[in-house]
């Protein structure tokens, strides 16, 4: 299934109240298309919105799609219908905006969370997923503490059998990693300021949340930001390793056996019409039907994660097979 189909399936599931399925679909879509900010925004908002029982007054009631999507096509439903269906959920800006200013998410219990208040809050993010992103906030004082501080609202991943049973987490299967942090646990303050909502702690908390949600790329981005400021941040380093190994395992599982030889699946003259960067161009130039994936990792000169990500994307786009 393509990333777009997974996104759509996730949206349908979300609208029908199947949050777990929505999250899984979007998580898979993000794994296929890590640069898809729309999916990231959905996942981010999924973490921020109240638990399903709170947002779903009755089974089957329409629930708004979380988060806006930039540049997306016109919705199928008329605007009026959307307005009716909208529930009062906080809608985050696209992730990159959130990354710039982590406090743009409205807090739980703010006026934006009051039922029916959405239309009355012109500066608030629109419930319309296709609306432009909300304006960025400049000061911390505009909002209460980040909702990330409250910990995840979702239950831990389903495990069929305790101790020796089948672990259903596909991530676990792929990488052998174990859950890092007990979900819902208290946030640790890397800066040493107990409970202080400083930027690094907010990022760290965001990274934990995204990791728990399966958005390893998003988590990795935050971790890298933290490590840029605090290279010795122990927890961030741990998350860095876990995120990277998980992502590598995910991408590599899409590629297939390391000894498999990828081949160009399009005509060479069609390559020119793709939308690639020069690193993808370099890797694509090495794929000549004689080099296997493991050799591509060796000769790319790029970090393994980047190589795996690019190759998985090329495979996903049908450029290679």
């Amino acid at each position: 299934m393509s990333a777009a189909e997974l996104v759509e399936r996730g949206r349908r599931a979300f609208n029908e109240g199947r949050r777990e399925e929505a999250r899984r679909c979007w998580g898979e879509a993000l794994a296929l298309d890590p640069g898809n900010e729309q999916v990231r925004a959905y996942l981010l908002n999924l973490a921020a919105v109240p638990a399903p029982s709170a947002t779903l007054p009755r089974p089957g009631a329409p629930v708004p799609l979380p988060g806006p999507a930039q540049g997306e096509a016109e919705p199928r439903r008329p605007r009026s219908e959307r307005a009716e269906a909208s529930a009062p959920v906080p809608l985050p800006a696209p992730e990159r905006d959130w990354l710039r200013s982590p406090v743009t998410l409205p807090p739980t219990g703010s006026p934006l969370h009051a039922e029916g208040s959405l239309a009355a809050a012109p500066s608030a993010p629109s419930s319309d997923p296709f609306a432009p992103p909300p304006p960025e906030r400049d000061t911390l004082s505009d909002y209460a503490p980040s909702p990330w501080g409250q910990g995840p609202t979702e239950p831990p991943p389903v495990v069929l059998a305790e101790g020796g049973g089948l672990d259903l987490s596909s991530v676990d299967e792929q990488s052998g990693i174990r859950p890092l942090v007990p979900q819902g646990g208290p946030a640790r303050g890397p800066s040493g300021v107990p409970g202080g909502p400083n930027e690094i702690e907010v990022w760290m908390q965001g990274a934990r949340e995204l990791f728990a949600l399966g958005d390893f790329s998003g988590s990795l981005e935050l971790i890298e930001r933290i490590l840029k400021l605090q290279p010795g941040h122990a927890e961030a380093r741990e998350y860095l390793q876990q995120n990277e190994s998980t992502l590598i395992a995910m991408y590599e599982s899409k590629l297939g056996p390391p000894g498999a030889i990828p081949r160009l699946a399009i005509q060479p003259e069609e390559v020119m019409w793709l939308n690639l960067d020069h690193r993808a161009g370099f890797l694509l130039a090495q794929i000549d039907g004689t080099v296997n994936y493991e050799d591509l990792f060796a000769l790319s000169g790029l970090p393994r994660l980047d190589t795996a990500r690019i190759l998985a994307a090329l495979l996903q786009q049908g450029v290679i097979s």
Binding site: V158, L166, G256, G259, V271, D277, G281, F282, A298, G301
Partner: protein
């Protein structure tokens, strides 16, 4: 192949590319690599992910990982640290050269490890050996290896050591031009002067052979160790980067290693194409990042053959000049040359062929494959050595001393005893006298080289003749005898003619590696080989275990599906189990031991779960 000792191979260990061949059913043939290529780049690398790469893969990351990629190790093999050749190499090569700990040889730093040069060449030879073993399906342990005719004894010994490191018994080292002529003369009688014009990837060698009645006599050698196909590539690369800069506001591609690697590959490919086609199209999409969010830049260019010839005519002229000088040194006029054998991929270039034709006044031979001919000759020689009593005609190879051999005289001068181009085996005698009154001992320094100054030549060994009769200077006669065996071993003896006091030395060429070091490296290689064999056993064990688990799981799927038909979790479990099984199958196909090991526990847990669930079904059904 019927000797009972396994197949024997001939190896052309080139500066840029290497080739392995064997005589199969009486016909010399090149053995393709496991990936189907006939040429194996003589490149060794340690990739950024720590993986050791040899051959084509190593070459393809030579620019992006320049400091950890070694090419042209042949220029360094058997050389001494501080020699002119090594100093030249240090200026030209991007990887780091370091001196050896004691023996003053040159070594290469790659990553955390220091490699000896024979070790690096040994890795290339080991790759070729593995290709041959894959081809024959049995172990290959003996080989004839070729070297340039000008290689000195140290370099030849270093090449032999490289063979030992690769697990090969080097039956004989033969000169490349001799080998080429051997392949050229295979199955026919030739009696004429032959010039071997060898323009390879990194070096140019020209040799003159006098062939008569199966005797291949190298009568002259010359060349340029820094002139080859890579210089032609560089001209094309410069042309491309200049054109790209003109079209893109002065952007210099050379600043980006990925772009440069692609430019290099494209330049080489275009150059090869132009040997057969009048125009080469160069398409390099997404070559360079556009910067600041702009799209990546492409390079699209046509290179006509005339343009290539204009760019490289100066290089071809250099080859002809070297050829002219070599002929002059050997006292051979172009008109006396009965055949010109072209060797090396670059000789396919029409401009080169035209230049050769113009110089010699005759068409060069087209009967031999320029890339393969040297390896084929080595294979013929290997076959002849391995099967002397099975009807194979032993070809008599007469090689010559590549450089003058002599001793150091008072004042630091070099006295030649055996001049270069002397056919071996040979011996020569020279009488010297003492230089001091009452002198009772004399130092004999055995040297090899072309310079009149002793310190510019290579010291092969030295000894002291003591117990000389004390007498005024010039009155004691010392006889110095040089002997060179067919294997190239130099024996030097000195004798006081009046007392009969005698001292001698056998100059055993040294590669720079001590015997202990060589053994250590060979032990390491053996360990690696054992590891490979062990991992092969491990793979079989894992394969059996995985196949058993997969079969058991699949057998239980219907029962589990029935058991959990109404459970959402149950369905999910089956789907997940299928995913695990699929990954296991992929790992089996890829022979990935690590992945099989990683999946083992998951398969085991899945099986346990399925047994429990299917037991439930049985229980329910039983009720």
């Amino acid at each position: 192949m019927s000797s009972g000792q396994g197949p024997v191979i001939g190896i052309d260990l080139g500066t840029t590319n290497s080739v392995v061949a064997a005589v199969i059913d009486g016909v010399p043939r090149v053995i393709p690599s496991r990936s189907g290529q006939l040429l194996t780049p003589s490149v060794v690398a340690v990739a950024k992910n720590g993986k050791r790469l040899v051959g084509q893969i190593a070459k393809r990351q030579a620019i992006t990982n320049a400091e950890n990629t070694v090419y042209a190790a042949k220029r360094l093999i058997g050389r001494r640290w501080g020699s002119r050749e090594v100093e030249d190499a240090r200026k030209a090569l991007p990887f780091q050269l370091v001196p050896g700990p004691e023996s003053n040889d040159v070594r290469v730093q790659m990553g955390e490890r220091v490699f000896t040069v024979p070790e690096l060449s040994g890795l290339v030879l080991a790759e070729l050996r593995a290709d041959a073993e894959a081809f024959f399906g049995c172990p290959v342990e003996r080989a004839v290896v070729t070297v340039p005719a000008y290689f000195n004894d140290g370099q030849r010994q270093a090449t032999k050591d490289a063979g030992r490191i690769a697990g090969l018994e080097v039956m004989r080292i033969i000169n490349e031009p001799t080998s080429a002529a051997l392949a050229y003369g295979f199955g026919r009688t030739i009696e004429k002067k032959v010039v071997v014009f060898d323009l390879g990837g990194g070096t140019f060698d020209v040799s003159i052979l006098d062939i008569g009645k199966s005797v291949y006599d190298v009568v002259g050698v010359g060349g340029d160790t820094y002139l080859g196909g890579e210089d032609f590539d560089r001209k094309v690369m410069d042309w491309l980067t200049f054109a790209f800069a003109q079209e893109n506001g002065g952007v210099d591609l050379r600043a980006d290693v990925m772009a440069l690697q692609r430019i290099k590959d494209a330049a080489e490919k275009a150059k090869c194409e132009l040997s057969a086609a009048p125009v080469a199209n160069i398409h390099l999409p997404f070559l360079l990042g556009g910067g600041e969010g702009r799209p990546a830049l492409h390079l699209e260019r046509q290179l006509p053959r005339e343009q290539l010839e204009e760019l490289t005519h100066e290089l071809v002229a250099r080859c002809i000049a070297v050829t002219e000088r070599t002929l002059r040194d050997a006292g051979v006029r172009p008109a006396q040359v009965g055949e010109v054998i072209l060797v090396g991929g670059m000789t396919r270039m029409p401009l080169v062929q035209r230049a050769v034709k113009e110089h010699f006044g005759r068409e060069p031979s087209r009967g031999v494959h320029p890339d393969e001919v040297v390896a084929l000759g080595a294979a013929i020689q290997a076959h002849a050595l391995a099967h002397p009593h099975q009807g194979a005609t032993e070809v008599l190879l007469l090689d010559v001393t590549p450089q003058h051999l002599g001793i150091m005289l008072v004042g630091g001068y070099f006295q030649t005893i055996i001049p270069r181009n002397t056919t071996v085996p040979t011996s020569a005698t020279h009488i010297f006298t003492t230089s001091l009154d009452g002198q009772t001992s004399v130092r004999i320094a055995v040297m090899q080289g072309a310079s009149e100054k002793a310190n510019e030549n290579e010291l092969l060994g030295e000894f002291v003749l003591a117990g000389i009769r004390p007498a005024p200077r010039g009155q004691v006669e010392i006889e110095v005898i040089f002997e060179i065996s067919a294997d190239g071993i130099v024996g030097v003896s000195a004798r006081d003619l009046s007392t009969g006091q005698r001292q001698s030395i056998t100059v055993t060429a040294t590669s720079g590696l001590t015997e202990d070091e060589l053994k250590r490296i060979m032990d390491e290689n053996l360990d690696e080989l054992l590891e490979k064999k062990q991992s092969s056993g491990e793979l079989e064990r894992r394969r059996e275990a995985t196949e058993r688990l997969v079969a058991e799981i699949e057998a239980l799927v219907p029962a589990v599906t029935t058991s959990l038909a109404r459970s959402r979790f149950g369905k999910d479990a089956v789907v997940k189990a299928e995913a695990v099984v699929q990954r296991a199958r992929a790992a089996l196909q890829a022979r990935d031991v690590a992945q099989l090991a990683a999946l083992d526990e998951q398969l085991e847990r899945t099986l346990q779960l399925f047994r429990g669930l299917s037991g439930g079904v049985a229980g329910q059904e039983g009720r």
